[in-house]
Amino acid sequence: MPEAFLRIGTRTVAACVFLLLIAGALVTSTQSGLAVPDWPLSYGKVMPPMVGGILYEHGHRLVAAAVSTLVGLELGALLFLLKGRKTVKRLAALAFIAILLQALLGGLTVLFLLPPAISSAHAALAEIVFALTAVVALMCSKGWEDLRISSNAEEARATLRWTVLATVAIYLQIVLGAVMRHTGAGLAIPDFPTSFGGLLPTFEEISRPGVPIHLAHRLGAAVVVVLVFLGAKALSGLRSPFATLGAAWAGLVCLQAFLGASSIWSGKAVPLTVAHLAVGALCWVIGVLLSVALAAGFSDKLGRD
């Protein structure tokens, strides 16, 4: 019974963290980050009128408070209900610490008027919190402790290598995207797939504000797509659910690239930029889950060789 409760509970927490990411994306996409100038209170109140940008900014704060509580409760439940399993408990504790730090970064970025460094760190840490809660949920899944994947050592190594590489690339790409977003460089190159009408920007165009980071994010996207496809190809040699998840991963990355392009074509329409952030987070977490599961499932082979 506790196992079933923890299984459902940890998945719910991970899903709630994902919703919190979407709430955060809405804040930046609607440029509402400073609609509430004070923190931790909002206009000196716990509940200001939810008008205009306050709906997004204060809404994000409310969701964050609720989700932080859930992450804390998750840690408590794991500590009290789960016997042994130190790694899971440590990861849950790390998630709780990270989400508290995340709240602090959120407050600081408001008080310091959205400095790109703090805002980008806030975005980058959010993805870590999501990954931590998802991994906790993974480790509370049925059969986790007995997970073994049939494969030869060479195949195991190659699959894990490509999956981890693609996952790291996705995270770096997300951080690049966060810096681009928080430095206002989302439309620094206003056309796509061309750049100022050419294949690549000229040296003069690259020297313009925001263009280098924007260009890096575009080139990073190409690298990510290639790496995820290589990862998916390696995963296709395994049995389901890995092969299926690999294919879904590749599909999501394609969707993500399309959403990135659409964000430019639409002049950063809010639903598209929010969707771009959300799908990016899903790509990242699927990569993390696959990497962790593969590392666990291949542990005997990797350990032997």
């Binding site: 004070d38 306050i54 049995r239 998840l245 977490v285």
Partner: protein, 279 residues
């Protein structure tokens, strides 16, 4: 356990984190006295941005000179006037009630005779010496969920009185590049703050993050020789000493233009500008 007997399933777990994706479909300073809000409501409308010349004269320039020359002109828009962008104020019931239906953006305001309003005109070069900040504060009011005035100028160090005349809350957020930024919450009708910019900067954007359509621009210059075009596109820069000056005209959408002018001690010279879309 082998892959064939794998009980652990990744797919349901990923499905759990995908649950939130469904939600996408619905996504549509300083601590000194000057920062402290005052509850008393300042009376009167914002003063004309061209007026500080007189205030500066009252205070007496420390080293910079004033005179009796003036530069006047009319700024016109040439070409087909772009259709005004429209927006709704439905995000706030009070704002929507104040402006039912679509509202025109204030970035391009062209009179029937093509006079272009809200152009900040100032002496960019040619002024020497220092000028004290006028004793009279410039005023920007948040009224009917728009800023009044939309474009204004101040002398460096001049106080800016920020009012909230609305029975709804606003935040006023400056986005300077050279000056210190501020972001102040003004939740109470009649609330007043006083701020100032200490360095010349043309222009400082001001916005409300609660009501995304609200924006204003403040030109900060080191002397009192500036003006903002009226609804008919006319402007006057008064009390200039004799000299040769570069006059710059700034418009939020059409960019900047400059012209040189030489004025004698009591001259009044016309310096007209013509803006074109995309020029």
């Amino acid at each position: 356990m082998t892959g064939s007997t794998l009980r652990f399933r990744l797919a349901p777990l990923c499905a759990a984190v995908l649950v939130g994706a469904a939600a996408l479909s619905g996504c549509g300073g300083k601590d000194d006295d000057e920062d402290r809000p005052k509850s008393s409501r300042a009376a009167g409308a914002p003063k004309d941005a061209a007026a500080p010349a007189a205030s500066a004269a009252e205070s007496g320039p420390a080293a910079g000179a004033t005179g009796a020359a003036s530069v006047t002109g009319k700024i016109v828009f040439d070409g087909a006037v772009p259709a005004a962008e429209k927006y709704k104020m439905s995000a706030d019931a009070f704002c929507a009630k104040s402006h039912p239906g679509d509202v025109n953006k204030e970035d391009v305001v062209v009179a029937a005779d093509k006079g272009l309003a809200n152009v900040f005109v100032y002496v960019k070069t040619g002024i020497t010496g220092t000028y004290p900040a006028p004793a009279t504060a410039a005023v920007i009011d948040q009224k009917g969920c728009t800023y009044h005035p939309h474009v204004f100028g101040v002398v460096t160090g001049q106080n800016i009185e920020i009012l909230n005349s609305d029975p709804t809350l606003h935040n006023i957020h400056s986005l300077p590049e050279k000056n210190e930024a501020f972001n102040l919450g003004m939740p109470v009708q009649g609330m007043k703050y006083t701020k100032k910019f200490d360095k010349p900067e043309v222009m400082v954007r001001i916005k409300c993050d609660v009501h995304g359509w609200m924006s204003a621009f403040c030109g900060v210059v080191a002397h009192p020789f500036f003006a903002v075009t009226a609804a008919d596109g006319t402007y006057t820069i008064k009390n200039l000493p004799a000299g040769t000056y570069t006059i710059e005209a700034w418009h939020e959408k059409f960019g900047t233009q400059t012209q040189q002018v030489t004025v004698g001690a009591t001259d009044s010279k016309a310096v007209p500008f013509t803006f074109k879309a995309g020029a």
